[in-house]
Symmetry: C2
Subunit: 216 residues, 2 copies
Amino acid sequence: MAPNTYGSSLPPIPSTDLDPGLPHTHHASLDSDSDCPFCHISSVFPAYNPADPPAPTSSVINPDLTSPQPATFIILSTPHLVAFLDIMPLSLGHILLCPRPHRPKLTDASPAESAELGRYLRILSAAVVRATGVGDWNVVQNNGAAAAQVVPHMHFHVIPRPELRDKRSERFTATMFGRGQRDELDEEEAGELAERVRRAVAEVVRADEWEMESKL
Amino acid sequence: MAPNTYGSSLPPIPSTDLDPGLPHTHHASLDSDSDCPFCHISSVFPAYNPADPPAPTSSVINPDLTSPQPATFIILSTPHLVAFLDIMPLSLGHILLCPRPHRPKLTDASPAESAELGRYLRILSAAVVRATGVGDWNVVQNNGAAAAQVVPHMHFHVIPRPELRDKRSERFTATMFGRGQRDELDEEEAGELAERVRRAVAEVVRADEWEMESKL
């Protein structure tokens, strides 16, 4: 059985897509699922400007906002996306990025959401490299039970890979797709790491804006 | 050693990025690498309209255009991106998507390229589901040797996952990150599959355009 990091009581989301091969039209009624832990995260953290993130003590990024669910260390919160530390990381800096509305699979995202996911995957990758000092990483996104998706709200994993052949690396291969055990997040370490990554995100976003401006 | 599907003589790409945590400015001189197999693919296949792909017999998508390198079954060829069948697929419909210019890692892509990658990841995912009838799939993108990147031109894998616990699935876990053996692509099967996926891409793109138009 794949470990369900949010408890095993999570019910499967019924498919509302008659033709799973064609992205479906979006209905407001499907934009949130009361049983979905990532919808819960989306609902409690307001959007902020990623180029100017709140201070670590700000109430708008208080990790306990998701209580009684596990503490959530926010990395990014825009009108369309949220990113946060995985609560059972495969390595230090393991981050999840998802659309704010409830989208079970990547094909359920809107065209605009999928472009935004791509844009921020690069920004988050650069930020995680800066914040951890680890220059190699994997990006993984699982769709459906056969692909080892656990939380049925689509998300990209960004996972730093410090070395190729240590025990953690062996475990990575075994756990990424649903077997084996992960570490639990240390909350003090997590708070400091999240702050470093948020500041790195701001640096990358501001550098992009500056590069765009210099081209005008 | 990770299997190098394009021969073991591929030299490592020297890093041109002084600060790997910040995306670097793009120079035309870095946009192509003469030793890179994916740059070779980019250079021989012209862009076409994904909503109206060429006939399977068209010379512009002739798999042998990459000769003497392995035959390449094109799925998508836009001004900014190319996608094609993996020559050693982990499952039927295993596709690679990459920027047309040479970008070693995701952080080397431009902001616009990364958004375009996100947009087409969703379109290709929907198309592969339609073309294969397999509704579950993984999206994987590896950056650097420690993350099991083999070809140093960044690419997303889109990998259908027909079942959770067959032999292929066990092998998947072992091979995705660099160990074990993959099948070689059957060229006749590949030609038919690529045609099905190109047509499914066209259907998804036209459905998106229609949905956008109906909202005007």
